[in-house]
Every structure is written in structure tokens, then in C-alpha cells.
Amino acid sequence: MNLHPLAIELLQFVLLLALAPAFAGWVKVLKCRMQGRSAAGIMQPYRDIRRLFGKDVVLAENASWLFRFTPYLTFGVTTIVAGIIPLISVDLPLSATADVIALVMLFGIVRFFTALAGMDIGTAFGGMGSSREMTIASLAEPAMLMAIFTVSLASNSTSLTQMVTVMAHAEFVIRPSLAFALAAFIMIALAETGRVPVDNPATHLELTMIHEAMILEYSGRHLALIEWAGMMKLTLLFALGIASFCPWGISAGGDIGSLALALGILAVKLMVGALIMVLIETGLAKMRIFRLPEYLGSAFLLATLGMIAFFILE
């Protein structure tokens, strides 16, 4: 039985909305195990979101419409991105509306508004967080584009579905360019999602926090939406990496059997990916913020080397 492309699209939205907290929970469980603590369980993020939705919103007196609008924008744009990155099938109608460059821009919009909202209230922490986030973003974004462009070069397209189709059916060739691009992508993804060498997602330690500082003033359903969007962003960046670098097993059409198989393969890939990320996070200490330009610079260098290697060696 074949599913209609729109049904696949819908399925993908539901999957991502429903499973992103579970994925975030899985990462937390792994991290706890790795550090010898006992974990709260995979379901904890769902409970957190429900608790936050039940609470009242506390707004600062001088909060403008920007502050109230940002959580909805963040959540909405992240959901749109969820419809663009092929998770289980390449037959996505929405995917034709945006290529990789637009995708990076969508993430950029979210970051822009979050930074504005961080400064809106006028507290010191919000401004500090926004300024740091934008510093990191200005260095991370070109590197992210470079890494993705290398894959685009290998598949002759910037459209994600096209990239996935080409990469999934390419014969096995050792490609140094893609290895470099993957290394750069992992480094950038750690920075984009605020994981350990760049930012620590688990603390609210005043002087080191970056992302948490921007959203410090949020509460109630606003915070729930932002947290949920954050979990989706984490899952989506993993999905983007999987789609660009190892899309094997993704379904080409809407056949239910192959969709189920693709879902199983995706789950395994996500679990392994999370394990790798947790290993990196546990193995490294958080970097001093003034070392970050060097870290992101080397990511950019790796991505550029990948691109150069594509021209020179392939």
C-alpha cells in the first residue's frame, strides 16, 4: 500500500513533534549513565513540557510584543524545518520549497529573534547571552554552509531530497572531501545546539551560559515552546547530518513496509549518533569562550579543506 506524499509529510511532522523529546531524553539518559549518575528516564522531557504548559506565564513589565512573539515563531519555524529535512522518505512535497541554504536561513531567523528577545527585557544576562550567541553564530554559519556545500558539490544539487537520493544510491567510493565535511559538520552541530565544548545545556551558571542566558526570562508555556523547539532542533541537526552523510536505508516512495524499515534504521542511526555526541561531550571540557573563534575557525578550515579536496582529488 502506498501513502500519499501529503500523508508522508504529515507523518513526518507528527513523528518529529512526538519523538524529539524522547530523543532529548535518550541523550540525557546516555549522558547520566556515562557520568555515573542515575537517569530520570527517557520520558522526563515530556513531563517537563507538560509541567511548563501547566504553569502561568510571568512577564516582565516592559516586555514588548517581540518577547511574547518569539516562542511561537521559534516553535513554528522549527516545525517548518521538520517538514523539509527528509527523515524516512524522500517523497516530501514541502522539501521542494526550500533548499539547504534556505534551511540554514530558517535556523538563522530563529536565532535572530531569540537574540532580540534576549535583549528585549533589558536584563544584563539576556544581553550577554545574545551577544555571545551572535558571535558564535556569525562564525558557525559560514562553516555550516561550507560543510553542506561540499555534499552539494558531490551530489550536484542544493535540494535536500536530491542530495539524499544521490548519496543513498552512490557506489562506494572513498571520499576525503566528505570525511572532512562530516568532521566540520559535527563540530558545528555541537556549537549550533549548544553542547559541551561550546556551551553547557545542563547548567545555569551565570558566567558561562550562552543559550540559557537568552531564554532566562521565559516561563510557563513560552518556555515550554522554546524547550520543545530546542529538542526538535537537536533532532533536526542530527537528521540533517544523517540525510547529508549517511542516508542509506531511506525510503524512496510511500510504501508502508519500506517506510517502517526506514523508520527503524533512522531510530538506530539517531541512537548511535547520540552515543557519539555524548562520548564527545563527556570526553571534553567546556572551552573558554575566547578559544571559541579558534574552534569554529578550525571547523571552517576543515569544511574548506573538504571543498578543496573535492576539486583537487576527486
Binding site: 576525503p176 572532512f180 579543506l305 578543496i308
Partner: protein, 221 residues
Amino acid sequence: MAHTLAAQINSLLAALILLSAFALLAQRKIMGLVHIFAWQGFFLALSTAVIGFASGEHHLYISSLLTLGMKVFLLPYILYSLVHKLKIHRDIEAVVNIPTTMLLGIVLVVFSYHLTAPIRELSNLMTRSTLAVALATVMLGLLMMVTRRHAVTQILGFLAMENGLFFAATSATYGMPMVVELGVALDLLIAAFIFGIFFFHINTTFDSLDVDQMAKLKETD
């Protein structure tokens, strides 16, 4: 395009050699530099052996073994013991702006790609595309010699340049004649000893291996 497995492995190794050349530019710690240099030699030896296997030029096995012995074990060991004797193994060099050096490095890679483009057209060896990487490694070694201030790191830059030249020879013409290669290897060994003696002298005279000190004419400031 010869997309045989050997050519693919060779281009992977070429990419790793290029990466290690950039890692040399980025590394601050002297012991870290020695380790990266040893890795570069290892990739070089491996690549020489792969080219030797694929092209049927069996004298390349000998130069591969020579490279392995010299550049992976002997030279790093000499540098290692020197660094320990001179008690500079904890030194972290103050390098001017690593990101800028990196960007310069990328420009050099693109430049060498353009420079070797005509040779790519002429040659029909399977290694012709790695020639650009070889030239880039030479350039990056030169860049390292120019931008670093510590005598030991300058020598490492020089040795990295030699790695690049060796790689250029294997990728352009499947290696130099055996006599030349033996001669170069011997020269390098002797050069390493002379460097060692010089380091000692510089260190005892100036109390430091920072070559900026040598520009001073007076003993006191």
C-alpha cells in the same frame, strides 16, 4: 579518472597529509608538533607504499621503509630527546593569530592547485591529482617557517617542507632514483644532528630558542 581503490586510498592519504600540514600550523605545543610531524611521516610512508604497489615500481617500497624509519621514528625521537634535554617540552609558543595563518594557508592551497593545473593536463599517472597537495604541503611548511619564532618549530616547518617535496616526487614521477633518495635521507639525518648542535649553542648563548632574540646586538636591553 582512474577510480581504482589504490588511487582512492592514495587521495585519502594525500588529504590526511594536507590536514596534518594544517595541524602543524595550528598547534601551539612543541611536543604536539613533534607528534603531528610523526603522523605526517606515517601517512607519507603509507602513501608511498600504496603508490609502489599500484604502479609496480618496487623501489618505492624501500623509500617507504626509509621514510617510515626516518620520519616516523628517528627524526621525531631526535627532536623529542632534544626538546627534553633543552627542557622546552612544556613550552607554548606565542604565535601571532592562528586563524589568519590558516586563511593564508587556504590561499596557498588554492594557489598551488592553480600552479599544478597544467601538469595535471600533461600527466597520465594515477597520482597526478595529488601533486597539488604535495606543492601545498611545501608551501605550508614554508609558511610555518616564516610565521613561527621558535627555532625548533622552524626546523619542524623545514622538515614538513621536505615531506612535501618527497610527496611531490612520488606523485609526479613515481619517485626519484634510489641514489638521490638515499642521499636526501642521509642529508636529513645529518641536518638533524647539526640542528641539535645549533639548538644547544643558541640555547646556551641566548638562554632561549626564540629567534627574535638573535636580532638584538647588545647583551642588555
